[in-house]
């Protein structure tokens, strides 16, 4: 792909959202420059690596054994006192999916973008940007030094770190209650439940968050946890909690850690606006992560598809102002925002409620003939078994 004098779009960050946006825009014949700060796309992995099959359908990516580790039929949720709630394929809904190798997955999407005609540059960081008459001047730094590229529009897809939206005048700051701090081990020699992801709840295990076990092979799993930032008391608490969890469960305690990773996750409502003049923000940078599950790939990629659609139309009409790009807001919010708002409230309750109440909630749901996982069904289940709990968790 050759250089453009002025790119239709510069996309900052080649995670799944940035690469999907690049792919979809390039496919429409737009000139796209996709910048990745790191020298290798997808590395280091900062993710539990579970995705839904729905995601692949949505972006139009065929499942591929080169990045799929294992297939999931459902999820098991454990209450603080280990009451088990098994969500099989008939009710698990979006939980049904794959555990993947995120680095290879991210690379697969980036390759789609490149084949569609996007220019990708790795180890290439956007360090500043400023307005010019027709869009943006983006200051770029790579091994050869600094240079400036011109763009009609910029998409910020720079992830949780989210510096770029600030350059366009957006405030992406998070309060401590709206952030989780996470750590994860990839382990070998552990006992997994075949084809099921597992979630362990409880203040003693992961205050304000949960422990997860996502199987990647018959004795391999990602075992990790997230803790709400307000619940961290001492230095290195996340690591201490995870080590304690592993030590106390014989399914994991004899395993070997082959990789350590970590990261921050927003558990907030999304940004109030994701559009500015000649500018869009998508994915983790726009705080689109689901505040209850901590999952961000689906939401980020969905917004990426809508961003590409909106930008293509706006480039055709010539109106790249905030107003011209504003259809992007309703396009992604109509599909994602209600559930994010519900899950945000649920997360707020999760931080407050006692382990005893959480036991009752999980117990009630496990005994109820659940047809599908949605807020209404879950509340009905709790109402039947423990009406007194309803008041405490009222949303």
């Amino acid at each position: 792909m050759k250089y453009a004098e002025r790119w239709d779009c510069i996309i900052i960050g080649a995670g799944p959202a940035g690469s999907t946006a690049a792919w979809k825009l390039a496919e429409k014949g737009r000139s796209v420059l996709l910048l990745e700060k790191r020298q290798e796309i997808g590395v280091p992995v900062r993710c539990g690596e579970g995705i839904s099959k729905q995601l692949l359908k949505m972006i139009g990516l065929e499942p591929d054994s080169r990045w799929i580790s294992s297939e999931m039929d459902g999820a098991i949720v454990y209450s603080p006192s280990m009451i088990e709630l098994k969500l099989g394929p008939e009710i698990a809904g979006p939980e049904v999916g794959y555990v993947i190798q995120r680095d290879r997955f991210d690379q697969a999407i980036a390759r789609r973008a490149a084949r569609a005609g996007a220019r990708i540059e790795v180890r290439c960081e956007a360090v500043a940007m400023s307005r010019d008459g027709k869009g943006w001047k983006v200051r770029i730094r790579d091994l050869k030094g600094d240079r400036t590229e011109l763009a009609s529009t910029v998409i910020a897809a720079d992830g949780f770190e989210s510096h770029v939206a600030g350059w366009a005048g957006m405030d992406t700051a998070l309060s401590p209650g709206n952030m989780d701090t996470c750590i994860q081990y990839e382990m070998v020699g552990v006992e997994v439940v075949d084809r099921f992801t597992e979630f362990f709840l409880g203040r003693k295990k992961a205050p304000g968050g949960y422990v997860w076990c996502f199987p990647k092979g018959k004795d391999i799993a990602n075992v990790g946890l997230g803790i709400n930032a307000t619940m961290v008391k001492d230095k290195a608490d996340p690591k201490k909690y995870l080590d304690m969890f592993i030590e106390n469960d014989e399914r994991f305690s004899s395993g070997t850690i082959t990789e350590v990773n970590g990261g921050g996750v927003s558990v907030s409502l999304p940004l109030e606006r994701t559009v500015a003049d000649n500018f869009l923000v998508i994915g983790d940078a726009a705080r689109m992560i689901d505040p209850l599950t901590g999952g961000g790939v689906y939401n980020g990629c969905y917004a990426a598809v809508k961003a590409a659609e909106t930008l293509d139309e706006a480039l055709r009409s010539g109106d790249l102002s905030k107003d011209g790009l504003s259809p992007f807001e309703s396009r992604w919010r109509d599909h994602l925002e209600d559930e994010m708002a519900r899950n945000y409230l649920a997360k707020e309750r999760m931080i407050e409620i006692s382990d005893e109440t959480l036991d009752k909630v999980v117990h009630a749901i496990s005994e109820y003939d659940l047809k599908e996982v949605n807020t209404e069904e879950l509340l009905k289940a709790i109402m039947v078994k423990y009406p007194e709990v309803m008041e405490e968790i009222a949303l």
Binding site: R46, T181, K235, G262
Partner: protein, 59 residues
């Protein structure tokens, strides 16, 4: 007290970068950089680092 970065403990997860309320932390190819002019010594990064790679005591 400003944070001091211990690169031997750091797992390069950049949780601190995203959680800094004033965006004073940057992960560069050369390592973690803390902008002294922006840092307000609030201690957020020290508290949330999952492995304890940031400590109090910076100038």
């Amino acid at each position: 007290m400003r944070p001091v970065w211990n690169k031997d403990i750091c797992i390069n997860c950049v949780a601190c970068v995203g959680m800094c309320p004033v965006k004073a932390i940057f992960m560069r190819e050369t390592g973690l950089q803390i902008d002294k002019d922006l840092c307000t010594s609030c201690g957020t990064c020290i508290r949330i680092c999952p492995v304890g790679a940031l400590e109090e005591g910076g100038q």
